[in-house]
């Protein structure tokens, strides 16, 4: 096997036809246990190394390999040969060494205690089982991911980013009046001890109570409270509105609206490299740009976009450290450098969900939504999202309803945010390459379709 340091050597000895080149090496080690009735029923381990290369002569070409026996010089040469077919006039820009961030080594504790993973999972299982009479079975997945991303190029840049994420997921089966119901809840942290079981249990019970014995509902416009999981689901697709690529090509409903008001004063969106509510940390992006915390929407005003080097240069600004590769699943290894978030979330408010339900008074608490991938159009902002929820009367939960869709336009939804709750929830997404977060959102009104 060729040592990875040999890639660095190959970059220092580029053939004369290659002006510049870059290598991004992603190493992932993953441990996972699934526990049911206190016993491990499934376990897995993986250790993989992926190599992304790009090389520029007159144009820029890409190559990707998992074959660790390939000659590094050949992989870079392959990327260069691929550039010869490019007819576009643009070439990629590579980062230069960044003062203070070169050779950055983040020390993390990479020890993995399998017994601790098992005990934690069994403990969560017991807590969830005891939390509600309806819950019959709980299957808990306990996972630790250790990831290192290293970017180095022929200009001397050498940046690395490491993280260790501890993750717990509970799959719950419940019985209520002879019917079976399922729900799932997951949280991550830098350490298992930081995962808040009671937060997970509250989420599970809330989801289940939104399902039990659900009936139908009259369509119309209603004031609603969108649960935090619904906010996350919507933003998992809707973040693309803020992509510099989509903005520039005119395929975002926000194209041309930078520095305009696009939401209510209660709508603020951040993108940050780390957050206490998740174990994920993104210190640099796949081009080696250092990740920064920045504001995308400030009290309803669109003040920033997500940029990689290319989109930033087209808008005469600097990369925000948002170069990424995974937008949505494509069925192939995504090698193209695009724009993705790091930890993108809506700012939480001060009030609890109970307080906001009282403020809602009469309306609908949307407790769950699904299939947002196929039901939001980023270009137009139109959405029609299947969901279920609870009718709220006089500030109290009245009855559960299902078979609904909420529909409208995302920009109208942003403008109708009356308040945000204090229950920010952050979820990993898409091959763990970024995270999305939202608190529960109180909306003045939204169209609910039901029958």
């Amino acid at each position: 096997m060729i040592g990875l340091e040999n890639y660095k050597k190959a970059l220092s000895e580029l053939p004369k036809e290659i002006n510049e080149a870059e290598v991004n090496i992603e190493t992932n080690e993953n441990y996972m246990l699934t526990v049911s009735e206190g016993e491990v029923v499934e376990s897995s381990y993986s250790n993989t190394t992926e190599i992304f290369a790009r090389a520029t002569g007159e144009k820029t070409g890409f190559a990707y390999t998992q074959d660790l026996s390939e000659d590094p010089a050949e992989v870079i040469e392959r990327a260069y040969r691929n550039s010869l077919e490019i007819t576009d006039n643009k070439r990629d820009f590579l980062n230069r060494p960044i003062l203070g961030h070169n050779q950055e080594k983040i020390r993390i504790n990479c020890n993995v205690d399998i017994e601790e993973m098992k005990k934690t999972a069994a403990s969560l299982e017991a807590h969830v089982l005891a939390s509600h009479d309806s819950i019959e079975k709980v299957i808990v997945e306990s996972r630790i991911d250790i990831t290192e991303s290293r970017v180095f190029n022929s200009h001397g840049l050498d940046v690395s980013s490491c993280r260790k994420v501890n993750y717990l997921k509970a799959d719950v089966i419940a019985q209520y009046k002879g019917e079976t119901y399922n729900t799932t809840c997951a949280l991550s942290a830098t350490d298992f001890e930081k995962i808040d079981f009671s937060f997970m249990i509250d989420m599970i019970i809330n989801q289940l109570e939104g399902k039990f014995g659900a009936g139908s509902f009259e369509p119309g416009e209603y004031p609603v409270l969108l649960d935090k999981t619904v906010g996350v689901n919507i933003l998992m697709t809707a973040w693309q509105l803020f992509s510099g690529i989509k903005y520039l090509e005119g395929s975002s409903a926000l194209s041309g609206k930078l520095y305009n008001n696009i939401g209510s004063e209660n709508f603020t969106v951040y993108d940050v490299p780390a957050h206490e509510k998740t174990g994920y940390i993104y210190r640099c992006d796949c081009e080696g740009s250092v990740s920064q915390a920045h504001t995308i929407v400030d009290k309803g005003r669109l003040v920033g976009l997500l940029h990689n080097i290319s989109t930033a240069s087209q808008m005469n600004t600097k990369s925000t450290g948002n170069a990424g590769r995974y937008a949505l699943l494509s069925g192939t290894i995504p090698t193209d450098i695009i724009v993705t978030p790091k930890i993108l979330y809506i700012e939480k408010g001060e009030e609890s969900v109970d307080t906001l339900l009282k403020e809602l008074n009469n309306g609908v608490y949307i407790t769950e939504s699904y299939d947002v991938f196929h039901s939001i159009n980023i270009a137009s902002g139109d959405f029609s999202i299947p969901c279920r929820g609870i009718v709220i009367k006089d500030g109290k939960k009245h009855r559960t309803i299902t078979g609904m869709t909420i529909s409208g336009n995302l920009l109208d939804l942003f403008k109708n945010i009356k308040a945000t709750a204090n229950d920010l929830y952050i979820e990993e997404f898409l091959m763990k390459s970024y995270c999305i977060g939202s608190p529960s959102l109180l909306l003045n009104k939204i169209q609910i379709n039901a029958g």
Binding site: Y45, N47, Y64, L68, I139, F373, S380, P386
Partner: protein
């Protein structure tokens, strides 16, 4: 490096050293090419090489999966040792010598022009033709990208029962993505031209040119759609790719993993009436020419025709090796995975509603007010499903009239399949797409004859 049979046997024996009654080594080599064409120029060309191995270990219904892309013998042996440590069950000791017997895989899909034998310029020419054809349809296109993909996957499977087999799967695909503006609003969409073939997929120019033109026509007409007030009406689903309805309403719930985890309305229903008499639902990974077809599944079982529902009676599930142990059933050749980096699990292949005896025109003519779904987008399955309607129309007094927009269908699958009151005579298949689930993205097709649900909730506004 390639491993000898003796080395493979040692790896499997090492994995089984702390108990376990079954071990498997799955080795994958896959090459992919991706070319992105935009604004009449080639923007990106990327070659991708995927190479790795996974070890699957079973002890009764307990499973361990480990994988690595470091294929040095030492590293694979260490990975096998770790699998044994993770299992750590001393209740049984595997003490047989493993002798492999080669079993030939007969892939019903035949490949003529291997992607690696074709120059990039010929592939780029296809993109150019598709781009020109698409742009000729509507001048309001503000953004368009055409992306070419080909894949050539070779898998080898060895297991402790002495099986050695391999399969080669090749596919070609073009993704067309476009945004249209009517001056006030933007509308975007994408679609794939997919074939389980080599470059012969593009032998017939009219196939991919028609795909491009029809895609843009559909996108252009979406600018003129009207919203439908929520209502309960008969819904007719067009023949062909609207078979996604079956994939989401039933297919996922019939996978052994859903049944074993009690995450399905079909648990304990075999032999019972679950759908209308008109419903016969089949999954068949052995049909030549379809995207979900292969010679063997990803556990080495030959693919086969599986009748899931026959005349409304539930007949069986989609079963992989572990699912078979959990349900006390035999594998149905449905153990699938995207790559070595996923353990296999029960997945669909080519899922279709069998042809019926009803007249295709009558099922529309007999509707006073209803919805005609011509094209479905993706969706999600489970006890409750949702499906995005990409192209739908109003039916008024027996005629297809106005284009509808913003339609999403959702409901409980097991309720809706009881309301199938018409199934047409002409079964039409489709190009195929990916299905995403716990073992990654797998190529599938979902198709049907024209079919009608007597009454279901639809609505945009």
């Amino acid at each position: 490096m390639s491993l000898s049979e003796n080395q493979v046997a040692k790896i499997l024996e090492t994995a089984l050293s702390s108990g376990g009654d079954f071990a498997e080594l799955f080795i994958e080599n896959k090459d992919e090419l991706q070319i992105k064409y935009e604004d009449e120029s080639v923007k990106r060309l990327t070659t991708t090489r995927i190479k790795g191995a996974g070890i699957y270990l079973l002890s009764g219904t307990r499973s361990v999966y480990v994988y690595t892309n470091d294929l040095s013998l030492d590293k694979i042996m260490n990975t096998a040792k770790l699998a044994a440590e993770l299992l750590n069950q001393k209740n049984s000791v595997f003490n047989r010598n493993i002798l492999f017997e080669y079993r030939k895989s007969n892939n019903p899909n035949k490949f003529i022009i291997y992607p690696s034998s074709v120059e990039h310029k010929d592939k780029i020419n296809i993109l150019r033709e598709i781009s020109l054809a698409a742009k000729s349809v509507d001048s309001r296109i503000v953004q368009m990208a055409v992306t070419y993909f080909d894949t050539d996957q070779n898998i080898s499977i060895y297991n402790s029962e002495g099986l050695f087999t391999w399969d080669r799967r090749i596919s070609s695909r073009v993704r067309l993505n476009a945004t249209i503006s009517d001056g006030a609003n933007y509308y975007d969409d994408w679609d794939d031209f997919t074939r389980p073939q080599g470059f012969e997929a593009f032998n017939n120019k009219s196939d991919y040119i028609t795909f491009a033109k029809e895609f843009i026509k559909g996108l252009a007409s979406s600018t003129e759609g009207i919203s439908l007030q929520s209502c309960n009406v008969p819904v007719v689903f067009e023949a062909g790719a609207c078979g996604t309805f079956w994939h989401e309403t039933c297919g996922h719930q019939l996978e052994a993993s859903a049944i074993a985890s009690n995450n399905s309305d079909f648990v304990g229903m075999i032999g019972k009436k679950v759908a209308s008499d008109k419903v016969t639902l089949i999954d068949d990974g052995s049909i030549p020419g379809l995207y979900g077809t292969s010679g063997i599944d990803d556990e080495g079982h030959p693919t086969q025709k599986n009748i899931l529902i026959e005349n409304g009676i539930l007949k069986g599930y989609l079963v992989d090796r572990l699912g078979g142990r959990l349900l006390n059933m035999s594998s149905t050749g449905n153990g699938r995975r995207q790559s070595y980096s996923y353990a296999p699990t029960s997945r669909m292949t080519n899922t279709y509603l069998a042809a019926g005896n009803d007249d295709e025109n009558e099922m529309i003519k007999s509707i006073d007010k209803g919805v005609f779904v011509k094209r479905l987008g993706g969706g999600t399955g489970g006890r409750e499903f949702s499906l995005a309607v990409k192209e739908g129309y109003l039916i008024e007094k027996g005629e297809i009239t106005k284009r509808l927009k913003g339609l999403t269908l959702n409901g409980r699958g097991i309720d809706l399949i009881k309301r199938v009151d018409r199934v047409g005579k002409k079964l039409e298949n489709e190009g195929g797409s990916f299905c995403g689930a716990s073992s990654g993205l797998c190529p599938v097709t979902s198709f049907q004859p024209r079919m009608r649900i007597s009454n279901m909730f639809v609505g945009g506004k």
